[in-house]
Amino acid sequence: MSNGGAKPIHVIVLGGGTAGWMAATGVAVMLGEQVRVTLVESEDIGIVGVGEATLPHLRSFVESLGINESDFMRETHATYKLGIDFRDFGKIGDSYIHPFGSFGEELAGISFHHYWLAAQQRGDAGPISDYSMGVAAAVANRFRPPANDHTLGSAYGYAYQFDATLFGPYMRTFAISKGVERIEGKVIEVQKDTETGNVTTLLLDNGQCINGDLFVDCSGFRSMLLGEAVGAEWEDWSHWLPCDRAVAMPCAAASEIIEPYTRAIAMPAGWRWRIPLQHRVGNGYVYASSFIDDEKAADAIVAAVEGTSLADPRILKFRAGRRKNSFVKNVIGVGLASGFLEPLESTSIYLAQMAITYLIELFPKDGKIENADRAEFNRLVDMEYDRIRDFLILHYHATTRDDSPFWDHVRTMQVPDSLAGKIELWKRTGRIAKYSEGLFYDASWIAVFLGQNILPNGIDPRVSVPDPGGMARALSSLKHAIDMEVATMPDHRAYLHSRSERLAPQL
């Protein structure tokens, strides 16, 4: 539907990284003729260029824009991702996969893990990972898109692992085809209306002036509009999430195997990621600069990677936290400009996507922004950040590691009350506080609690009612069914290669 000939609302997106191009595309495609979208980016400044592991939500974003999956995978050198393998977190030598999917099935209204815990005590059960399709497929390096029914073959989800330096450009081409105007140039000044405090104009280094109605700040860590121009306050979380740097270094794949999962390996002063793409492997060490210096961190990542390095180690700096408000005046922060949570659970691109979705839902139709819309946007964004924050902190806190000052710190630090309550509930009763909004639900919490050896003292009283022999048989037949199902799935690499449309040319 046209907007009746009214002048379109001019949306200016500052920044051409992943967040900027996602925002520009989303707004342009979803709002059609009501908007005119201009994106300003500067090659001098460049993009952060990391952010390779995603969550399943990205699929619906890409799909709703009308992007073809194979196309997108080919252009970003993407592989499939079934979850994250966490190593050495609970203690050195541990490994568990946090899958996109759950463990077992609820029975008589009681979550599977209660039965599993009881059976485990009796020696009647294997590790919890035996009862998850997502984990079993990941461990076997197999992949096939989940079935669209209620069988075992549907009991997992998937996301992508892609080249972060290619995703933005891919979205750029797509956005421009949808009418987004791109301007190359560096913003050197931001002008505001003296009365309202709204941003009115961006001044570029080439003398160009860009006026707009609504400004989406995707300028990265600098947060040039939200943080600097309209002064959204920063809420710092580094006392809970002390990692403030990363040293990234891609390398060639050292073997033929392409794992359909990301690895997060705990390190003496943080952790490192390992993300297999079609043509290479992404690596990086996320660390706390107060516990290790840059050089040592770089040495550590160089020593850790398996394949030939493809670039020199590159250091990135950041802080954990978020803006207290992400929608202030006529500025909406999306991506790193709004906040940062370290990539331990690959949540950053999700957070950008979520902000874009809420912006579209709350978009000021007539160009007039109501306070209620800002408040609602900020409520939703805060809720998303806060819940992810607690979940990330758990990964550090749930440990017995005492081999380095970093782990001593995170093990003994005081966690947010909201998290302390959840841990206590789990420890006493084996229950997960229930939220239906936000990102991580019970299955994720269970994966991390159990994976990091936090076992509850008490579990649901009703699990002592069924006959243990029957339970043991049910568990073993579930494991058998999962193994059989996984055996019918193709190898991940073979599946990728089975259709050339999704393969990058150099392969």
Binding site: E361, K434, E437, P456, G458, P461
Partner: protein, 500 residues
Amino acid sequence: MNHAAQPRELPHAILVVGDGQVGILTAIALRQALPTTTVTVIPSPADHAAFADRIGTAMPFTNRLHDRLGISEMDLVQRAGASHRLVTRYRGWASETHEGISGYGSGNPALGNAFTGHFEAVRSPGRAAEARILTPAAALAATGRFCPPDGDPNSPLATIDYALRWNVEAYRNLLIAKAMQLGIQYAPKLPADVQYSARGDIAAVILDDHAGAIAADLFIDCSGPMRWLMSRMAGATLDSWRENLPCDRVLIAAPGEPVLALEDRMTLTPHGWLNEIGGRDGVQRIFAFPASLGSADAEAHLIGAGASAAIAAAIHPGALVRPFVGNVVALGDAAASFEPIGGTNLDLAHRQLSLLLELLPGRNVEPREREEYNRRAELMASSLRDWLTSHYAALGMPGTPFTARVSQLTYSPSFNLLIDMHRRHGRMPFFEEAPVLPSEWSAMLLALGISSSPSAHALAQSAERNRSLTQQAENAARAAVDAAPPYGEWLESVLPQPGV
């Protein structure tokens, strides 16, 4: 860590106070979950405002709970006079001639809010009453055709959700029979007093007539708004809803003539509202109003509608801040007492029961678990309060005594948020534990005549796409009508003795 992860000790005994349809169903659910636990039910003094016990209807949630507890819908149809409500028709809320219809379920997710918004946008003002019927449920109700979906996901009736209404006494008898089969104990003695443990929990309930005492680990208060148990617990405090809801007096008429209809009615009057709930064994008529307006009009309405003697009940609208205190859990009207709109009192009771089953305590109550129960129950209650308040957000009858009373209400921040979002963006925010789906909520607001303007996203859809969605919706409604027999015929085909 081998000492860890032991199942908690099972409760040895549970006492349910209140033997209405809430108390008995609660006992059944607990006994099924805990077959080794002694579950006892005792009556509580009669309470006219125990609506969850007195009114024979609930919402779709109850059907799921019944399924889980092995209470078959066919049994309710054959033995408890049950019939199906597909929609509620609101009359007179937005104007004297206003009519609006809303049903249940998530509708067609492909159509979504964007579609609702658009539907509103294309509908010209003043023509609302003749707007095309775009949902299968409304089409079925209008044509009097229906039979419950048979589980085939491809049936045109598959997406239709519905509520049941039934004969309270027959339903209760059916539950009693089931309770007896399950070995639930019944002590037909009223409670007289309680004994406390050293911790301040209840240790036992002492029965009237020197009939002894019943000790238990867990006590469930299903006594209605008198809160027989909770009123004896320090720490049970009431959050008053008097500022949020207008009605504090209710007349419930004796069941009237049988009415076989797929819709119920909610009619606004100058002094309150009249809810007419269809029923094979007699229509149930309920009139709610502010006591300050007097009951003359209420009586006139009920008599005008052909109703005979009515029971009057006073409500103190509000909810317990913490409905689980010590080892006592309040369910239904004992937890939250409010004007009885369309089966919501029993719906809330059943949702709380279901939450209790999910977080079922062991012999010893874990404080964290109790806190989690209270957190979620509180969210449930406050969303319900907002849902009830929605009825009064935009009354279109200026100058009536009821409108004057309603104008003094205060709205909660969450309510202001949702109504604003609905109006300006055609959007329903998500509320944790809300007892209605966002789609049901927005459909109800529209039925009440509270219009929404389309979101920017909806406006961006092409006219062509909107036309095709409208067409799809109309086709789905027509297919449902074609697939369903006249409701009376279906009933006759399943009832033991033909004839209704």
